[in-house]
Subunit: 198 residues, 2 copies
Amino acid sequence: MVDASESARRGPYAKTASRRAEIIASATAIFSTHGYQGGSLRQIARQLDLGLTTVMHHFPTKVALLAAVLDQEDSSDPDAEERSRRDGFIPMVIGIVERNLRRQELVRMFSIISAEATHPGHEAHAWLVNRYAAVTASYLDLIAYDRAAGRITTDRDPELLAGIVVSGWEGIQIRWLADGTDPVEAMRTLLVDLLRPA
Amino acid sequence: MVDASESARRGPYAKTASRRAEIIASATAIFSTHGYQGGSLRQIARQLDLGLTTVMHHFPTKVALLAAVLDQEDSSDPDAEERSRRDGFIPMVIGIVERNLRRQELVRMFSIISAEATHPGHEAHAWLVNRYAAVTASYLDLIAYDRAAGRITTDRDPELLAGIVVSGWEGIQIRWLADGTDPVEAMRTLLVDLLRPA
């Protein structure tokens, strides 16, 4: 949020950006309650006390809004690979699990959309498949890097390990969202037992 | 399905049971496509070419139908604990993972409803929390049993291990639903690395 004088000085672009951010935040909340399939632009407009046409001026379709909502996540942690190479893969992952403790509704929205989007007909299906492929490719490199550096001792295929870390993490977070079971202890155990730190 | 003469012989109760089973199967398909929040009794009636009042005669509310849909699963594998004690926990779990390969839409429906139902306001929230508690309690006993029998060598807390097996499994199945990644290899690796068979 910018104050009124700053908004006036920065002109219509700043206003558009702040309105877009507001709609994206509302969509995150609506999708985390009703799912993507169950949410609607109309609900989002109502929540923000805006006309439906105003919302549709910024996001003409629900899928356009979904793309913007999903982009939030992808752009939110550009330094993860660098931290992993510097500090190790296990501390990097645990750092993100800890950060996610403070973004419960965003994590819930991603969990619901991921489960829905397993369906090949879902509008986020390609996003989900690409996200699994991209994160697994990144993590398999980082696991191979840690093994070459002598930080971990497993001799399993890094691609298999990366896939289990990514998907096990997803399930552990769903459990945390449901009943509060500590995801940090569960992820640390999973990582240590799979990767076997030196 | 029963044939017409058998249905006539067995009378109205058999007919009601078969109509209920039909509605439950349709609800499973609708919820696995649209989620529970996004699905409706109206869509289910349309899919079965029934009137909405006929569906509501069997299930007056969507949450009543949800309860019946969720019950399918709970009643579907009463012998799992016995198989685990006889053959071991790891083969028992792998057997269920292999069986789930043939029930993709049912697994998808459970994955979507579980993610939605993490929300405390969701109509299946209590079911989800109870299911996690019940499955974890059962699995921690079975893991402790295998350890006492010398089948596995981990010295970690069985409750922590049981929780990671249950939630890791959920994430591994979501990945399988999305892009076909083999859930049997992933679960076997997870179980072996966590439980360390003798």
